[in-house]
């Protein structure tokens, strides 16, 4: 298990995203999949910054990466902010015309698209968001190799 903890503020985003990319790379995930995982990670972190710690900059977020079953990667996001209800967030109408689109609300939708299994639980004073990720190699293999 590898882990990192940083203040739950936007300035930490780069460090945390780099950490997750390194975990996925070490697990043998391909670049395209790593980018999808980075996207889901950013969306999860921004939600934690906004909803778990809406008004203070003293909060902390911790990420743990663990090898899962088969070739899966498990990423856990832990914070001690206020409880947020992951399942209630983000069900945008992606077919709505521009005038009817709400600005934002897409983060959790993107997480669900990019992550094979998302779980959320409140344990003692912690919010724990878990991503279980498959390599999804088949989609990458279909891409032609760039010459030279």
């Amino acid at each position: 298990m590898k882990d990192i903890h940083r203040p739950a503020i936007l300035e930490s985003l780069e460090d945390l995203m780099t950490f997750v990319a390194e975990c996925a790379e070490a697990r043998g995930f391909r670049p395209k999949r790593i980018q999808e995982i980075q996207l889901a990670t950013e969306e999860a972190l921004v939600n934690i910054f906004n909803y778990a710690y809406p008004e203070n900059r003293d909060g902390e977020v911790r990420i743990e990466c663990t090898p899962g079953e088969e070739n899966h990667l498990v990423i856990e996001f832990r914070d001690k902010g206020i409880p947020y209800r992951f399942k209630d967030l983000g069900k945008p109408d992606v077919s709505a015309p521009m005038a009817e689109r709400e600005i934002g609300g897409l983060g959790i939708f993107l997480i669900r698209k990019m992550v094979d299994n998302v779980q959320f639980r409140r344990e003692d004073d912690e919010n724990i968001l878990t991503f279980i990720l498959q390599p999804r190699d088949q989609e990458d293999d279909a891409e032609p190799q760039q010459p030279g």
Binding site: L10, E11, L13, E14, M17, K32, Q35, E36, Q38, L39, E42, E43, V46, P92, V94, S95, A96, P97, M98, A99, R101, I103, G104, L106, G107, F109, L110, K113
Partner: protein, 109 residues
């Protein structure tokens, strides 16, 4: 993220390089709004060198597209990389923001 601008006829072509995330998207939004303040209303955003976009980037683009529409202007995107295009497709943004294969095509449409 780096931004460079040039004029192509009536259109202001802005090339965006790097990553458009929760940290950098507000910089992009501010830059376009600054140009709008100088009277530009027809924008082509060249994304050939954009490697990554998150919902924060989508949010900025949608907000600008709405503002420009209100001002009788336009915002077109050009030359999206596959991974960035995928995010636009999944989120349904491909059907609400005009996307062209090249800057030339975006400028002439």
């Amino acid at each position: 993220m780096e931004m460079t601008n040039r004029k192509e006829g009536e259109a202001l072509v802005m090339s965006v390089k790097g990553r458009m995330d929760a940290v950098t998207a507000p910089e992009f939004e501010k830059a376009v709004q600054g140009l709008m303040g100088e009277g530009e209303i027809s924008f082509v955003i060249d994304l050939a060198d954009l490697d990554y976009i998150s919902s924060a980037g989508l949010r900025s683009i949608l907000a600008l597209a709405k503002k420009l529409k209100t001002a009788d202007g336009s915002l077109r995107l050009a030359a999206l990389q596959d991974t960035v295009k995928e995010v636009f497709d999944i989120s349904g943004f491909s059907s609400i923001i005009p996307i062209s294969d090249s800057v030339e095509a975006a400028c002439s449409s």
